[in-house]
């Protein structure tokens, strides 16, 4: 029997506000434990939450960008459960009336384009962190993260393959980064993903029993965990077994999912409307103002890159997959006169190769957009050849020096003086009489050999076009 997977994703994204969702404490990461706290986020007696408007702005922007309908009135609710990282022993979240609903994202995979539905987006506060002592039977509580604004984005179970899940996550991630509402750091946990996955015989309408997967801290891990889990569930069913509903953790070292240890209790969160906050009313004008301020989003930017710069769908897709990368490309284009296609090749090729090799993000690039633009200008105006440009680029990455400085220091200016090249051509022909005879006898493939020899003689600086031209002229004469 052939099976298909049914995948739904829940993303928790930390909103990039400077202060927490219900108090004025800083949301900065990495401070000493319990230094970004106040009576409100410590859950002291008698304190009250006050909603951070910026956080609502961000969540509304996300809702608009993901085609969700923003509710005119939503409501915060208390989710009650006891845990030491939750000072009030309830989390202020949203339940019956979320901020927005019924959205979708378009994803593209090898199988083509597809819409993935978004069930709802709601806002809530993050919990703190427990630090378990390695040597003593005690746990310590760090409440710096408590009250960091979170947005939970729940997808419909619309994805059928790990690849689709990966595409959805990357798209959502890109949108949040474009909106600049989340820093999207999966390692630090500012963008977290849980996955629900089940399998069913292809053609069957009803869902199978699902497993909830947690602990995946990269897109790749989400895809791997889903692939593993789909294979596991398929094997269980093919062996005549039954999939049990459970939470499973992805073990990235063992490359498998394992059931979460300990007995899973069926939680009753006893949700009820948060009496300390008024219903959240989003007037159409508020939404309109935010809509007007929305930046260009990935899909629109990709379309513009193909029309404005004449880039291929593929190049435009790669360049707009991250806001910073697209910004980088446009910064290059703004200050060089070269061909967009060439600039795109340099960014997606040499630059991204360099960044990948060094494990850097585009914002950490050792070669700035301006420096790359200067290099491309040198190339475009014929000062250096393409081959030399590669050498200069490597040097730029190594030393951080400007391309014109490197060209000058190393004497790499391209030789376009015909008399100099002619001299080299003459020498090469004189040194290789047999090849000259061969060429003239019809072995025209030897042209490459002559070009190489001339380039070697000029230490790579000769203008390749001119070399070709002059060789042809001499040999075909």
């Amino acid at each position: 029997m052939e099976f298909e997977a049914v995948i739904g994703l829940e993303v928790h994204a930390q909103l990039k506000t400077r202060s927490k969702i219900f108090c004025g404490c800083s949301t900065a990461f990495g401070a000493p434990p319990n230094t970004h706290v106040c009576p409100v986020c410590l859950g002291m007696p008698g304190v009250l939450p006050v909603l951070n408007k910026k956080a609502v702005d961000f969540a509304i922007m996300t809702s608009i960008a993901t085609n969700c309908t923003v509710a005119r009135e939503s409501r915060f609710a208390r989710k009650n459960y006891f845990y030491p990282d939750l000072p009030k022993n309830f989390q202020i979240s949203m339940y019956e009336l979320p901020l927005s609903e019924h959205g979708w994202l378009e994803i593209e995979t090898a199988a083509g384009k597809k819409r993935v539905g978004i069930t709802r987006i709601h806002m809530e506060e993050d919990a703190g962190k427990l630090v378990h002592d390695e040597f003593a039977p005690v746990s310590r509580v760090d409440l710096n993260r408590t009250g960091t604004p979170l947005m939970e984005i729940v997808s419909e179970p619309d994805m059928r393959t790990p690849e689709e899940a990966g595409a959805y996550l990357r798209k959502l991630h890109a949108i949040l980064r474009y909106l600049d509402v989340c820093d999207g750091n999966m390692e630090e946990g500012s963008f977290r993903c849980d996955a629900n996955v089940s399998i069913r015989p292809r053609g069957q309408e009803a869902f199978g029993t699902r497993a909830e997967l947690k602990n995946m801290n990269s897109f790749k891990n989400v895809e791997k965990a889903l692939a593993f889990e789909i294979a596991r569930q398929t094997a269980v069913i093919e062996d005549g077994g039954r999939v049990v509903q459970e939470t499973r953790l992805w073990d990235a070292n063992a490359m498998k999912t394992l059931p979460m240890r300990g007995k899973e209790e069926a939680h009753d969160y006893r949700y009820f409307p948060e009496p300390d906050l008024l219903p959240l009313v989003v007037f159409p004008q508020w939404e309109e103002e935010l809509k007007a301020r929305l930046p260009e989003l990935p899909d629109a930017r990709k379309a513009r890159f193909t029309s404005q710069y004449g880039l291929s769908d593929y190049d435009a897709g790669v360049l707009t997959s991250e806001r910073e990368l697209a910004d980088f490309f446009e910064a290059v284009m703004a200050s060089c006169k070269g061909e967009p296609k060439q600039a795109a090749n340099w960014v997606t090729g040499a630059l991204m190769g360099l960044l990948n090799a060094r494990g850097l993000s585009i914002s950490e690039s050792p070669v700035s957009a301006l420096a790359l633009a200067a290099l491309l200008t040198l190339l475009d105006s014929g000062v250096i050849s393409g081959k030399i440009a590669k050498t200069v680029f490597e040097e730029m990455a190594e030393t951080g020096k400007a391309p014109d400085v490197i060209v000058k220091e190393k004497g790499l200016v391209q030789v376009s003086d015909a008399s100099v090249i002619e001299k080299a051509v003459e020498e090469v022909l004189a040194e290789n009489p047999a090849e000259v005879t061969g060429y003239r006898g019809g072995k025209t493939k030897l042209m490459g050999f002559f070009v190489g020899a001339v380039m070697k003689k000029t230490r790579g600086k000769a203008n390749p076009g001119l070399v070709n031209e002059l060789l042809k002229k001499r040999l075909d004469a």
Partner: protein, 486 residues
Amino acid sequence: MELFRLTVSEAADLLSRREISSRELTLAALSRIEAVEPKVGAFITLCREEALAAADAADKALAKGGAAPLCGIPLSVKDVLCTKGVRTTCGSKILESFFPPYDATVVSRLKDAGAVIIGKNNMDEFAMGSSTENSAFHPTRNPWDPCRIPGGSSGGSAAAVAADMGLCSLGSDTGGSIRQPASHCGVVGLKPSYGRVSRYGLVAYASSLDQVGPITKSVRDAAILMNAIAGHDPKDSTSMPKSAPDFTEALRGELSGMTLGLPKEYMEAEGLAPDVALLMEKAVKTLSELGASCVPVSLPHTGYAVAAYYLIAPAEASSNLARYDGVKYGFRAENPNDLAEMYKNTRSAGFGPEVRRRILLGTYALSAGYYDAYYGKASQVRTLIMRDFARVFASCDAVISPVSPTPAFLIGEKCADPLTMYLSDIFTVPANLAGIPGISVPCGFSADGLPVGLQIMADHFKEETLLTVAHAFEAAAGVSGKKPQL
């Protein structure tokens, strides 16, 4: 002159004319406490040193002139209000050693006005109770009869004011906790409209019902206190975003032309003591003589109010009190084997029986499968009660009723039967459910010489109407000024 007997307005007058100093007045209040507190038990914590320092600061401000009416006035606050650096227990063992690092907004407003806080009043644990017998520390006795309860949960506040230990006090009212003890102790107690006074720093019992309000010796004093504490607070999202009026202006108002509604459901309520009914009749007569027309009205859903209240309040409480877990502050049970045991032992030993009862009740009411039948239904009843009042206020300026079906009962009388105790809240919980203001003003004494209060309720944010009616009634009834023998 016995300075401790003064009302706030009388004392403010003498202070501003520099005939007395705040230090003298504060010392008088403190020595009154020394003399009668052992018989009453109205305080959990006294702040003698802080009070004298505040009094000296007030005297300096008074010397400069132009000080606020509360400047230099010694008063107390219910121990449900956070006071920076001063122990705030909420009447509970679980907060026995809690020293808040912040002031409640109402406390900082009192301090800004130059008031002198002399101590923290006893109360039913977490404001859950109608008798102050649920304090983890000691019961408070009614100054009019030490065998009787002072009412609750702001029993310490009402008893302190009745016994002249401090010139006035702040209480909190979730289902009658200001008005009922004020009635039982023969003082004035005002529960403002929900949203009129900031709840920031008021330790939450039931967030959608709680309000802070004054307990005073006169209606004028209640207006003076309201001037200091009312108004928007950006720290409380449920506080009304508009500035409060000068409440003392309302004291000039007259009753002629006013229509006062007498809800028949209240007057026909089971368990209404004949003495109380008689005093109500007298009150109606007095108000009519003052020019008001008193008309019968109907609040048909009154009978469901207590049931709705005892679902909504415990439900919110079960969540509000979840934070007392021994992890961060307050009491923690020793040597637990694991986390669950720490929670269990801490909360079992830290909370008293009434608090545990209400947490269980509320947890149950919010549980999956029961939510709609209990919390959901109670919320619907709440809406119906609001509509009852809205209908009545379309034709009436205010509603008058008893505060409590009986005068103060005996200590221990209702301890074994919480349900009877709950039912005594029947006249006060509707105002909390509807979010409207209510005041208790002394209207006479029972045959046993126990004080009985008259309740006046008005529409949302119409505290001025309450004050106008209460003030005129107070002057005509001529019962305030009578003091308990201590």
